[in-house]
């Protein structure tokens, strides 16, 4: 079995008002050096296969078809061997 850890973020070209709001909060705390806060989503899933490239292919397809909307989001993921 393989486990995929997927991160979905708003594309760079899209304003992220949530990130902006959090950035203001971080600055209010005094962390003036923190810049460019972006909020995204984290998805973890297991793929039942012994073949890593198959796990990668399935994960990519799931991201493209459902987990991310290519108009507004980018995604990246890692796939690692997983013992339940």
């Amino acid at each position: 079995m393989y486990q995929s850890k997927i991160v979905v973020t708003l594309r760079k070209s899209i304003l992220d008002p949530q990130g902006k709001a959090v950035e203001h909060g971080v600055h209010s705390l005094g962390f003036e050096k923190v810049k460019d806060v972006r909020i995204g989503k984290f998805v973890e899933l297991n793929v039942q296969t012994d073949n890593k490239s198959e796990a990668e292919r399935i994960t990519k397809e799931v991201c493209e078809k459902l987990l991310a909307n290519p108009i507004m989001e980018d995604f990246h993921f890692t796939v690692e061997n997983h013992k339940p």
Partner: protein, 238 residues
């Protein structure tokens, strides 16, 4: 006048389905029925309404999971064959996720859920959803959403303009399209669009909440009346 057949799709979490059914069925006197999202087929309908609400709790992205409901395959087939589809609020979000309308609805720029009456300028009174309005007319219809910030890239925006696919824009009471009149940050103040062939409408405002005089505003009824007239004319011609 012969009765039209309206189908109102019900997803888990739809909450404006009864309002839409009431307007087209009770108020306008047509045949209206609910279509559960698990149905494989729409059956015999003239118009499909995807109502407002929070299908699947807005999980992942608004409309992202609803678009995979079994009935959506038939909605896509119906729309691609020229069938009339109207998506209101969450219905609009589902239509963009399903690829029947371009663009996407992002989180409101204010990050707040906005529920209030807004003014809308009719940008194209020649669509089958707006023919009962005057070009440039200002309608007053409520919005109620947290994710209505319409976005398309510059190329698609230009295409929407050129094809006159923008039907409604947020505006001030006098019709001025300004940032101050934009409740959610939508690009170019866009509140409603049609697809290239003009048979699919998506709009964030709720015309079904401004149709019965008892609720105080009836501008929303012009949207339903336009679409009924376009279909009745079509029947007379064929």
């Amino acid at each position: 006048m012969s009765k039209l057949k309206f189908g109102v799709v019900v997803f888990p979490g739809s909450n404006c389905d009864h309002d839409a059914h009431y307007v087209v069925g009770t108020l306008l006197g047509h045949d209206a029925r609910f279509i559960w999202h698990k149905e494989g087929s729409l059956g015999d309908v003239d118009v499909v309404i995807l109502p407002g609400g929070f299908s699947y709790g807005d999980y992942l992205r608004c409309g992202a999971i609803a678009r995979f409901s079994p009935v959506m395959k038939d909605v896509v087939r119906f729309a691609n064959n020229g069938g009339i589809v109207m998506g209101i609020c969450n219905g609009f979000q589902i239509l963009t996720e399903a690829g029947l309308l371009p663009g996407v609805l992002l989180r409101n720029a204010s990050l707040k859920f906005v529920c209030k009456y807004v003014h809308l300028r009719v940008e194209n009174a020649e669509t089958r959803f707006s023919s009962k309005c005057q070009q440039g007319e200002v309608l007053e219809i409520p919005i109620a959403h947290g994710d209505g910030n319409y976005f398309v890239d510059a190329g698609m925006l230009q295409k929407l303009e050129e094809n006159r696919q923008i039907v409604l824009r947020y505006c001030g009471p006098g019709g001025q399209v300004t940032d101050a009149a934009n409740p959610n940050g939508a690009i170019s103040n866009i509140a409603g669009i049609v697809n290239e062939t003009g048979n699919v409408l998506g709009m964030m405002p709720h015309p079904e909440r401004a149709s019965d005089p008892v609720l105080g505003h009836t501008d929303g009824r012009k949207i339903f009346d336009s679409l009924v007239e376009s279909l009745v004319q079509q029947t007379v011609l064929t």
